[in-house]
């Protein structure tokens, strides 16, 4: 039976992880995601899982690397500066094709910035802030319910594609409380036997997991293999919510918390007779390029709204390919988008 409970966004991620069979969490405190680390500290010992407050974000991601090698479902979480520190580790995980969930509850940046919710890490998340040609799936929850749901999905996708998956949230959704529905299902907590895990070579040949490929063109070949995987993900895993786009003359494109302001603006605009719709990318990578591209052909213009100086807008423009005008309204540094200002911008555009 689905229960309705009032829960904080950060806790909902923790609950999603637990419900997905996550058995090993490694994290380092940082605002605004501390409740998640604390949640795991409380729950993991109860379910026989592993909780370690690592000495740093770098240690945490490398512990995830280790745990993932054993086949267990594993997760780490942090916020912007801490995620920057994990970039080498994420690149290693992608290179070794190790599943694992990385949560970024974004705060204002750059530098120490502030602890408000922000969307300044889109580039980092979607372009791979780490080195080398790799991609991580990026899911962007816009409600506490999705904090739960997309966390569950992230574990599925991580295993399905042997890939690190990022949940890109922000301090607003992380800190807020909302009621969510959730099943209390029986979670299977056994390690699935995968054909690449390291658990001692009993009854089989020894295995190795590594990313150093020095043979001639060996690394190139491997990169093309990874690329094929990324293509498969692009074909199969794109998710987006369309809202009132059918007859829309202008569509707003927004993800995460910004999409809530966006939706409110759409409602308000509709009330005022403006034909506005919204596309909300749920997977940021892979980006719903075709969806945006197709809709771009039908509308007069597009308004991208972000809590940043404009990052996702590049993906939108890449999808739009000049077919329609792309406008921007954004506020960086953890300041909140105002519905009124979105409406102003919409009015400005529609003239």
């Amino acid at each position: 039976m689905k229960k309705r409970i009032l829960i904080r966004g950060n806790d909902a991620i923790g609950e999603g992880a637990i419900q997905s069979g996550c058995m090993a969490y490694f994290g380092y405190p940082i605002t605004p995601q501390n409740e998640l680390t604390a949640y795991m500290a409380k729950i993991m010992p109860k379910i026989g899982g592993v909780f370690i407050q690592a000495e740093s974000e770098i240690a945490a991601i490398n512990m995830v690397f280790g745990a993932s090698l054993t086949g267990v479902r594993t997760m780490t979480s942090s916020s912007s500066p801490g995620i920057s520190l994990k970039q080498e580790g994420i690149s290693y995980m992608a290179a070794c094709q190790l599943p694992g969930v990385i949560v970024n509850v974004q705060r204002g940046g750059p530098g120490l910035g502030n602890i408000a919710g922000s969307q300044g890490d889109y580039f980092q998340a979607t372009r791979g802030g780490g080195h080398g040609d790799y991609r991580t799936i990026v899911l962007a929850p816009y409600s506490v319910q999705e904090m739960f749901d997309l966390t569950c999905l992230s574990f599925e996708l991580a295993d399905k594609y042997r890939s690190p998956v990022m949940v890109l949230s922000d301090g607003v959704v992380g800190q807020m409380l909302e009621p969510i529905h959730k099943d209390d299902k029986n979670v299977e907590r056994k390690i699935k036997d995968k054909d690449w895990i390291l658990d001692g070579c009993k009854g089989r040949e020894p295995r190795m997991v590594r990313s150093l490929l020095l043979g001639e063109e060996e690394l190139e070949k491997y990169n093309w293999e990874l690329n094929n995987k990324y293509k498969r993900i692009k074909e199969q895993e794109i998710r987006a919510e369309l809202y009132n786009v059918e007859d829309a003359e202008i569509v707003i494109i927004a993800y995460g918390i910004a999409a809530r302001m966006g939706k409110q603006a759409v409602k308000e605009a509709r009330r005022q007779g403006l034909k506005i719709g919204m596309i909300r990318p749920i997977t940021l990578w892979p980006f719903p390029e075709q969806i945006v591209g197709n809709i771009a052909q039908k509308v007069n213009s597009i308004l991208v709204i972000e809590m940043s100086l404009g990052q996702m807008i590049e993906d939108v423009k890449l999808a739009v390919e000049g077919k329609t005008k792309v406008h921007f309204y954004g506020r960086p540094g953890g300041s909140v988008l105002e519905v009124e200002e979105i409406l102003d911008k919409l009015r400005e555009i529609s003239n």
Binding site: F65, T70, I191, M208, V209, R210
Partner: protein, 248 residues
Amino acid sequence: MKKLFSYPDSLKKARFSYCPGCGHGIVHRLLAEVIDEFKIREKTIGIAPVGCAVFAYHYWNFDVTEAAHGRPPAVATGIKRVLPDRIVFTYQGDGDLASIGAAEILHAANRGENITVIFINNAIYGMTGGQMAPTTLIGQKTWTSPGGRKAELSGYPMKISEALGQLDGVHYIERVAVNNPENVLKAKKAIKKAFKNQIANKGFSLVEVLSMCPVGWAVTSVEALRWIEEKLIPVYPLGVIRDKSKST
């Protein structure tokens, strides 16, 4: 025919990529022998470092992964916590363990992780061409201390094992060398103890091995043995640094 001294099962037959006279090969063999002797090959997971031993997975005949530079203790922690009944060890150079990975080893030690750490101190960065390591001796010329290491600029040969020895999570630390057959045998004993501790769930054990890098020191293989005796050991005295089972 009776085999008196022969190639251990826990080593694959691949040729090492190490330079002639390099200590890594000796330590690999000791490791393999110990693992053979404890019959734990099939439940051992080794963690190779970034350093000359980065290719260890080509040589070790059991499950092996490679950690990012300096992070083997964190990777080992991740594995061991999930699979506490497996045998997990890290193999790390002085650059890996004492420089970039100083925080990770310090905290794995302080947490008392039930792992074994083989720490190859060759007083140099071998893999990258011979730069100064934290353990490089005063006056030692390296690629990044072309005039010899100067204490005023680069500090002192780092006694990381002694520092780690201060942490309550540590069960056992010993420093050994592989510069002559007698020392090699002592090194094996120490490595054996470090694995035995893990098998008995005693907690964190580390063996620091003073190991030859003739190329990095710009000496011949034979001179390298003497270099350890005359230069390294005086600064890094051999022996047990901490052994909880012996303290009261």
